[in-house]
C-alpha cells in the first residue's frame, strides 16, 4: 500500500491552523529534505522566530528525558503549549536507531498542548540531527512556545546545541566523578543554567556545591564577561522538587537575553550557523556528485596515497575545481 500524500498546497496553512497530522507529516518532510517540505517551509518561515528554543544536554542516563517530562508538567500548568524534539543516536553500523526518550513522557498523550517528536541523529554529530532546527521552526510556526531540544546523551565536548538554542540547560549527574570534573573545559561552559538532576541522591549536594564554587571563582577572576552567571539548580523528579525554580531561571534568562541585547546576538548566531551549514551541505553534495569521483579527483586522491600531496593540498585542489565549475 502506498500512503496517501499529505502534500497538498494547503499543507502550510493546515500547520498554521493547528492541524497536528499535517504538522507530523511536515516534520517527516523536513527531516528527509523533501521538496514538498521545503516549499511548505518557505510559507511557514515568516511565522517563525517567536518561540524560545531551550536546549538540554548531558550524559546518557543523566535524567534528561525525565527532566523534560517535569518541564512539560510545569509549562502546561503555566498555560504554555510545548513541543519536544528528542534526539537519540543512530547506529554507525546499520543506520538504525532506538528512539526511547518518549517513554519518559507518556502522560501527555491526550493533551493537544504537548507535541513530542523523536529524531535519530543519523550520524550528524554534535548530539543533534541535521534538520533539528528546521523541525523546531515548524513547531514555532505551529504556535508552540517553548520548544525543547533534547540532545543525544553527550560527554564533555558536545557544544553544538548552544549555537542552536537560546537557553541551554546542562544536566550534571551526582556520583559520576569528583570535583575535578567540574574544572574541565567543554560542555560545562555552554550551560546557561546548570541542572543537577537526581537531587534526591546524597551526592547531589556536593556536586551542586562544587559547581557553585566554580561559578564564584569565575566571577572573582572576571572570566565571565557576558553579564549572565549560570545558576546551579538541583532538581528531583522523584520528589518533584526544583522544577518551578528551573522554569523561573529559564524565564529570567530569556528576560536577560532580551534586555541585554544578547538575544539579538544569539539569534544572529543561530541564523548564521544554519545558513553556513546549508552551504556546507551544498558543497558536500557537490563533492558527492558522480563526476566529483572523476579521474582527476581520483588522481588527486592517489597522489595523497603516494604521499605526493598532503590531504590539505588535495582538498584545496578539489575545492578550486568545484568552485570553478570544472568538475
Amino acid at each position: 500500500m502506498v500512503n496517501q500524500p499529505l502534500s497538498q498546497p494547503g499543507l502550510a496553512a493546515r500547520v498554521l491552523a493547528g492541524d497536528r497530522a499535517a504538522l507530523a507529516r511536515l516534520l517527516t518532510y523536513l527531516e528527509n529534505d523533501t521538496e514538498i517540505g521545503e516549499l511548505a517551509f518557505e510559507k511557514l518561515y515568516p511565522h517563525t522566530g517567536r518561540a524560545h528554543l531551550i536546549g538540554i544536554t548531558g550524559p546518557p542516563g543523566g535524567g534528561k528525558s525525565t527532566l523534560v517530562n517535569e518541564l512539560i508538567r510545569e509549562y502546561r500548568q503555566r498555560g504554555a503549549n510545548i513541543a519536544i524534539i528528542a534526539i537519540d543516536p543512530s547506529s554507525p553500523l546499520t543506520g538504525g536507531a532506538t528512539l526511547g526518550d518518549r517513554i519518559r513522557m507518556q502522560e501527555w498523550h491526550a493533551d493537544p498542548g504537548v507535541f513530542i517528536r523523536s529524531m535519530a541523529s543519523r550520524r550528524f554529530g554534535g548530539g543533534l540531527a541535521r534538520n533539528t532546527l528546521a523541525v523546531a521552526h515548524a513547531f514555532d510556526a505551529a504556535g508552540f512556545d517553548p520548544i525543547i531540544i533534547e540532545t543525544v546523551g553527550s560527554g564533555q565536548d558536545e557544544v553544538a546545541i548552544a549555537s542552536l538554542a537560546m537557553t541551554t540547560l546542562l544536566v550534571q549527574v551526582p556520583g559520576t566523578g569528583d570535583g575535578v570534573q567540574t574544572l574541565k573545559a567543554g560542555s560545562l561552559e555552554i550551560g546557561d543554567i546548570l541542572v543537577v538532576t537526581k537531587g534526591d541522591r546524597p551526592e547531589s549536594g556536593e556536586l551542586a556545591r562544587d559547581l557553585r564554587n566554580l561559578r564564584h571563582v569565575a566571577l572573582a577572576a572576571g572570566s565571565e564577561q557576558t553579564g549572565w552567571t549560570a545558576p546551579v539548580i538541583k532538581t528531583s523528579a522523584v520528589r518533584q522538587e526544583g522544577i518551578d525554580k528551573l522554569l523561573d531561571a529559564i524565564g529570567e534568562h530569556r528576560q536577560w537575553l532580551e534586555e541585554s541585547g544578547e538575544m539579538e546576538t544569539r539569534l544572529l548566531t543561530i541564523v548564521s550557523t544554519e545558513v553556513t551549514s546549508r552551504v556546507q551541505e551544498a558543497l558536500y553534495r557537490q563533492l558527492q556528485r558522480p563526476n566529483a569521483g572523476d579521474e582527476t579527483t581520483r588522481n588527486i586522491i592517489d597522489r595523497v596515497t603516494a604521499r605526493q600531496l598532503t590531504p590539505q593540498q588535495a582538498a584545496t585542489q578539489i575545492f578550486s575545481r568545484i568552485r570553478n565549475g570544472s568538475s
Binding site: 500500500m1 497536528r20 547506529s91 538504525g96 528512539l99 518518549r102
Partner: protein, 146 residues
C-alpha cells in the same frame, strides 16, 4: 492492506517503526528483542514500552509519523485490546500504517485479527530475520517522502 511494489519508487529513508506493548502484562522481553532486531535492520524504532493504551499508541503513531505499528502482547487479551487500538489509529488517520503484532496469539484468533487490519502476526518461534524481512517488504513506500 498489504503492500504494492511500485517500480521506480525505492525507499530512500529508514523505516520508522513504533514498538508498543498494549495492556497490563509486564513481559517486555519480546518487545525489546524485536526493537533491537529492527534497529539492527536499520529501522528507526520508537520504543514506548509497557502499559500502552489505545490512545497512547495512536498519539505516538501520529506525532512520530511512523510507517509501521508493532504491537507485542502476551496477556491473551488481544481480542479485546486490538479493536480499540485499530479504532484509535483510524480516528487519528494513521490506520494507513502497516500494523503487525507479536506474542502469544493462538492461531485460531489470527483470521479475526487480520480482518481487523493487523497485517501479520508473529507467533512464538518466529525468526527475527523473518519479521524484519516482512516489514522490509510490506512497510508502505510513500510517494511523497520515499
Amino acid at each position: 492492506m498489504g503492500s504494492e511494489h511500485q517500480p521506480g519508487n525505492e525507499r530512500q529513508r529508514p523505516i520508522r517503526v513504533l514498538v508498543a506493548k498494549p495492556g497490563l502484562d509486564g513481559h517486555d522481553r519480546g518487545a525489546k528483542v524485536m526493537a533491537r532486531a529492527f534497529r539492527d535492520a536499520g529501522f528507526e524504532v520508537i520504543y514506548t514500552g509497557l502499559f500502552q493504551t489505545a490512545e497512547m499508541i495512536a498519539n505516538a503513531a501520529l506525532q512520530e509519523d511512523v510507517d509501521v505499528v508493532g504491537l507485542s502482547i502476551l496477556s491473551g487479551a488481544h481480542m479485546s485490546l486490538f479493536p480499540p487500538i485499530i479504532d484509535a489509529l483510524h480516528e487519528v488517520g494513521r490506520d494507513d500504517a502497516l500494523i503487525v503484532a507479536g506474542g502469544t496469539i493462538p492461531t485460531e484468533d489470527i483470521p479475526a485479527l487480520e480482518a481487523l487490519g493487523v497485517s501479520k502476526i508473529f507467533g512464538p518461534g518466529t525468526r527475527l530475520q523473518d519479521a524484519v524481512a516482512y516489514i522490509h517488504d510490506h512497510a508502505p513506500v510513500r510517494t511523497d517522502v520515499p
